[in-house]
Amino acid sequence: MRREMVRRLGWLSDEEFVEMLSLLPTMPGPNPISMACLVGYKFQGVAGSAVSLFACIIPAFVMLMLIAKVYLSQPPGSLLFSMFRGCAAGVVGINVANALELTAPYLRVPVALLFIGATAFAVSGLHFSLELVLLILAPISIGLRAWRGKV
């Protein structure tokens, strides 16, 4: 994304790109889409933001609709169905690997590990809703960070 927008098209300076990137964790939404909205807004205001948003979504949307149409037309025992069950199993392994890789840097940071574990337990074990997590656990975690003064 940086290579396209900063170097090839010259839409943003490096500083602007980093600035926008640093905003993303403080806002809802998937990062690449949020970034597209911010860049769109910078150039054409609200209309630019809307155009960027749709441009990001439409290709995936069309592709997934085609897959869904084929998928739902198949009988449960079909070969295609087995293939998608294999895909689902595969994605589990990928997600475990990603979660492990993201957790690894925090292995020596007990407070962070505590919050990773507490959040996972609250959601998976106690069936906390996302609202509760964001209202209770997130503010405590952020508050502790601010209090300890380390970033």
Binding site: E19, M20, S22, L23, P25, T26, M27, P28, G29, P30, N31, I33, S34, C37, Y41, S49, L53, C56, I57, P59, A60, M63, L64, M65, I67, A68, Y71, S82, M83, F84, G86, C87, A88, A89, G90, G93, I94, N95, V96, A97, N98, A99, L100, E101, T103, A112, L114, F115, I116, T119, A120, A122, V123, S124, L130, E131, L134, I142, L144, V151
Partner: protein
């Protein structure tokens, strides 16, 4: 029906701090346990499709919408998923840039990170509940786990490869 889709996905859209994967546990519990739109296995398969397609994983909203109400359902769910967050980001971006380089931003991001990773683990648990329902499926997951940690094979290739193994062993 459309109202239910909108009510679920608008909330998820606005609560999606930390990217799309953080909202997977809630999306799963709403669409599988609460509304019974899909089975756990279907949800995991849809999730895999969304991971393979370009764009963010939250495009799974379109697949859930499609299962509920065909193409109109898909458009409604995707709109409810992406438009509120898009508006929030546009407004938020304008406000933040006026605030300037405030140190709170970094503290917020640093404090949120462990919570988001915890949500990621919970999301993995629900995807596994639908994706790994047999020893053979577990073996496929173990293979992609090792390949992700040890090699740089792309996610799309890994998922497609797992699909081929599925055709052979998950009959």
């Amino acid at each position: 029906m459309y109202y239910q889709l909108v009510s679920v996905f608008v909330v998820l859209s606005l609560l999606g701090f930390g990217g799309g994967n953080a909202i997977i546990p809630q999306m799963f519990s709403e669409s599988v346990h609460h509304y019974h739109w899909l089975t756990a296995s279907q949800f995991s398969q849809f999730y895999a499709m969304a991971r393979m397609a370009p764009g963010p994983t939250t495009t799974i909203s379109a697949l859930v919408g499609y299962a509920v109400g065909g193409l109109p359902g898909a458009a409604v769910a995707a709109g409810a998923m992406f438009i509120p967050a898009g508006i929030a980001v546009t407004i938020g971006g304008a406000l933040w840039s006026r605030l300037g380089e405030h140190p709170f931003r970094k503290v917020f991001a640093a404090g949120m990170a462990p919570v988001v990773i915890g949500l990621l683990w919970s999301g993995t648990v629900v995807i596994a509940s639908g994706g790994v329902q047999s020893w053979a499926a577990g073996a496929i997951a173990a293979i992609t786990l090792l390949l992700t940690l040890r090699t740089k094979v792309s996610v799309v290739i890994l998922i497609l490869g797992a699909g081929v193994l599925g055709m052979l062993f998950l009959r």
